[in-house]
Amino acid sequence: MKTTLVWTIQFLLIPALSPLAVGVTRKLKALLQNRQGASPFQPYRDLAKLLRKDEVISRDASWVFRVTPYLLFTLTVAAGASIPLVSTALGNPATGDFLVVVYLLALGTFFLALAGIDTGGAFGGFGSSREMLVAALAEGGLILALLTLALLGRTTDLFALAGGIASLPVTDLAPVILAFVGFFVALLAETGRYPFDNPATHLELTMIHEAMILEYSGKRLALIEWSSANKYLLFTALGANLFFPWGLAGSLALGEIALALTVFLGKALVLCAAVALLESTIAKFRIFRLPDLLFTSFILSIIAIGLIG
């Protein structure tokens, strides 16, 4: 019964709260820039609006274009269910391996990039090319950052890993902090945030993600936007619960779960605020400076692994 409840939370939490995470980040960003900003619940209204609209699909598009939004949404939900959200007691030997989560998301990126090429426009293809550049280079930093944790926690199972990191003595946390910096860079890259991409613009010079999805409309656009939000919250949750696993429930007791949920929301809010702060204070990088940043993230994790000794 309790297991069912927690699994329900696992599957539904990410898609249910992800629009809010995006809305909160936007609101915080607006406040930092002395703007009023839209309500944090605006993304929900946008999704509802898009779902009510008719759809136009390019004549050149094939089934790849049509299937991708569904696949992307499925993958983000499945990956979201495979990471520890509220409790470490939930064993998940089937899909909880961190490589599985990384490669599930990579599968989504693969199809999204194909969909960008599929419509035959000049923008989509370039968006795909840039997306694959960033994704390919971000993967190294991401895997190594998570490997740092896996070596410390002696497992690659994310649930057990969160528990393992939580029980480390404070003196062993230096590699975790370093790996977190590496991970945070990968987070910004994977979720299309500053300084990699500007999530708020369709201006052609700055866009990666938006260029790929330019031809989408109606329900498929809604699914894509929702999946991107899912991915954002998923990475936030990974950062919050793996690198700072304190507050996660150690059992499946209802009280503990409720507390853990609250703590998780707090931690996610802090990370969203960090992203908003970053986006308000730095400019987007030129595309060929991005690899330097990604290699830096990779190197940081290597140093972290070296520190484990």
């Binding site: 094939s62 089934w63 790849v64 090429i117 599929d118 035959g120 293809g125 795909s128 280079l137 329900k219």
Partner: protein, 683 residues
């Protein structure tokens, strides 16, 4: 029944089928249709027998061994099919079978252009050669069949002989493969010197007591010799030319299985011929060269826009991944961690099987596209998903598998390779740890870059609009091609979903190797793939079920929510311009950003000449010349100096040839005197 299959007669039947196919095709040469049919049907029959034979050997666990003595004192035609041989025999037969089915339709486009008789002859002899290579149990016999395999594949590379570049690629292949063979002969001679035998069993027993220096020498020669066949960087330069030049079903055989015979022999040498724990540096060398090969292989692939060359470079990448698994296994063996060594070896063999399936599939897909568009240039494709929907689907399956994306098979063998490398990083310290970390980094980037490369390959080939009239006129590939591709596409998915069971079966094969005995293999269930220590686990059926379930729920919910919404077809928005095929992204443009990032390695050339209307202001260019090439650093800094040196030495030696008969008689006199003194000086 099993006794009959595994008897010498059963094995002879396999070889006989290929012989009949080869000779019959040659005799039928005039009648193209009959020659093609005959050659390929017998090849398919022989492969089926091979499948049956290897599967029986693997299931029963028998190790058939038999031999035929010859009138030459040192040569005996002896065979021994242990689990490792049977595994490679299985992989070869599997790919040979589907490629024979594929060829039934594919050879049609050679009618009237090239002789089908010789194609049947060489293809059959080539497959038979590979089967003999992995079953031979005697060094001299091995060298003979190794040469059979190399020569027949050489003739297949230059089969389309009216293309001058094929002849060039063939010559390079011919030279490189024989340099490799020279090193192999050296390795065998060293072992003969130490053990006095050419028999594989006797070599293994004798070399256990050999000096470490000798063992190191044998290892190095074998690494160079068999590495040249496997395509390890820097011995890879023949591969991207030779594989694409051959007919596509032969490319699939060469890339899918022939290069694996190099891996097979490396495993034999390191674990059978040189028994006992290997020195640490062997494993580290193999691991390091695997890491370099895989990363550079995928980078070179990204810069290619010839579809088959691109796939050939990916073979180098995947050989690198296999070597990373094998190298880590050797390191663990030398440190005495047999269980972890088992993990690395299973990853290597599993990836060998997986690479054979998806690489053959991709070459088949490329062949189908080429037979329709008559070009290998990826920039002239486009939009083929509409005219060749099934080929596109199969090629997509292969692309997902080679990019290591779940739930296809490539993911699981790479996952295991990752786990072996993780274990190494967690276990060792200092240099060893650093090499393992290099492997992890290389594998992580390789996965991402391979995905980028196949977004390019699939996207530019099959999506958007046709970029050339030929691509616009393409039609779906013939039935036999689609059948072969469908079988392999299904195999890539199936080997992924039941990866737990496959890894267990492969584990049993590895445990049969003497070096890996004693390594505990936890009884992983068929649904769960796990690392012994409980470090990591993954279940493919569960993952697939989750994906299918969520997808169904999402599709159902969206359908219910958006009932009654219209979907209209419109034009792609492009700033109001009329879209043409020229406005889509090209393969060159797609990979250009990644190439620019890695320009230190790839050495691309840029814009070379530009003419301005206003030379002083330089605002309005009149004409510009852009040459997009890549400098081959291996040719420039390794092979050209080597060639120069060889020619220089040859030039010096040439001087003793003066053309005067008296001088030659003088040489003979000097030699004779020298030999007599040597004889007299002997105690």
């Amino acid at each position: 029944m099993t006794a009959l299959i595994l008897s010498p007669a059963g094995f002879s039947a396999i070889i006989a089928a290929f012989t009949v196919g080869a000779l019959g095709a040659l005799l039928l040469g005039r009648h193209e249709r009959a020659a093609g049919l005959w050659g390929n049907l017998w090849a398919a029959g022989g492969s089926l027998l091979g499948l049956l034979y290897s599967a029986t050997a693997l299931i029963t666990g028998d190790v058939p061994a038999f031999g035929v003595a010859t009138s030459f004192p040192l040569l005996s035609l002896s065979f021994r099919i242990d689990a490792l041989s049977a595994f490679f025999l299985l992989v070869i037969s599997l790919v040979a079978l589907v490629s024979a089915v594929y060829a039934l339709g594919y050879v049609r486009h050679y009618y009237g252009r090239y002789p089908l008789g010789s194609l049947g002859l060489f293809t059959n002899a080539f497959i038979a050669g590979m089967i003999l290579v992995v079953t031979a149990h005697h060094a001299l016999w091995f060298l003979i069949v190794w040469e059979l395999m190399s020569l027949t594949s050489y003739f297949l590379v230059i089969y389309e002989r009216r293309e001058p570049e094929n002849i060039q690629a063939g010559s390079l292949y011919f030279i490189m493969t024989h340099i490799g063979t020279a090193f192999i002969i050296l390795a065998f001679l060293l072992m003969y010197g130490a053990t006095g035998s050419f028999d594989f069993g006797a070599i293994g027993r004798g070399m256990a007591a050999a000096s470490p220096l000798l063992r190191d020498g044998v290892f190095l020669f074998a690494l160079i010799g068999f590495g040249a066949k496997a395509g390890i960087i820097p011995f890879h330069i023949w591969l991207p030319g030779a594989h694409p030049a051959a007919p596509s079903h032969v490319s699939a055989l060469m890339s899918g299985v022939m290069i694996k015979t190099g891996i097979y022999m490396l495993v034999r040498v390191c674990t059978d011929f040189l028994p006992g724990p290997p020195p640490l540096w062997w494993g580290l060398t193999i691991l390091g060269s695997g890491a370099v090969s895989s990363l550079l292989g995928v980078l070179y692939a990204l810069s290619e826009h010839d579809l088959k060359r691109l796939l050939a470079y990916h073979s180098i990448e995947n050989i690198g991944i296999i070597l990373m698994g094998f190298g880590s296994a050797l390191v663990f063996l030398s440190a005495g961690f047999t269980a972890l060594a088992l993990l690395g070896m299973i990853a290597a063999l599993f990836h060998t099987l997986n690479h054979a399936t998806f690489k053959a599939l991709l070459f088949f897909g490329a062949g189908a596209v080429i037979s329709q568009t008559h070009t290998r240039n990826i920039e002239e494709y486009g939009g083929l998903i509409r005219s060749m929907p099934q080929t596109a689907l199969f090629f997509l399956a292969g692309s997902l598998a080679i990019s290591a994306l779940p739930p296809f098979n490539g993911f699981f063998s790479e996952w295991m390779t990752f786990q072996a490398l993780f274990a190494g990083v967690g276990t060792f310290s200092l240099v060893t740890k650093a090499v393992f970390l290099l492997g992890v980094g290389s594998l992580a980037f390789t996965g991402g870059l391979a995905a980028a490369c196949f977004v390019k390959a699939f996207g530019v080939t099959f999506l958007a609009r046709p970029r050339s009239p030929e691509a616009g006129r393409a039609t779906e590939a013939p039935l036999s091609l689609r059948l072969a591709m469908a079988a392999l596409a299904l195999a890539t998915l199936l080997l992924g979903v039941i990866a737990g069971g496959v890894s267990r079966a492969v584990g049993a094969i590895v445990q049969a190797l003497p070096a890996f005995q004693g390594g505990a293999l936890q009884p992983a269930s068929y649904t769960l793939l796990r690392v012994d220590t409980g470090f990591a686990a993954v279940s493919l059926p569960a993952l697939t079920a989750v994906l299918v379930g969520v997808a169904a729920a999402v599709a159902g919910a969206v359908h219910l929510l958006t009932r009654g919404r219209r979907v209209t077809l419109g034009r792609t928005w492009d700033c109001g311009a009329d879209l043409t095929g020229r406005m889509e992204i090209t393969a060159t443009a797609f990979s250009r950003s990644i190439v620019t990032v890695f320009r230190g390695v790839l050495k691309p050339t840029g814009q070379t000449e530009i003419d301005y209307h206003d030379a002083r202001l330089r605002y309005f260019p009149k004409s510009g010349l852009v040459r997009l090439e890549f400098r081959d650093i291996w040719a420039q800094f390794f092979y050209q100096p080597l060639q120069k040196m060889t020619l220089g030495i040859a030039g010096q030696i040439k001087k003793i040839q003066v053309g005067n008969i008296n001088v030659y008689i003088g040489y003979i006199l000097v030699t004779l005197t020298f030999l007599l003194i040597m004889l007299a000086a002997r105690p």
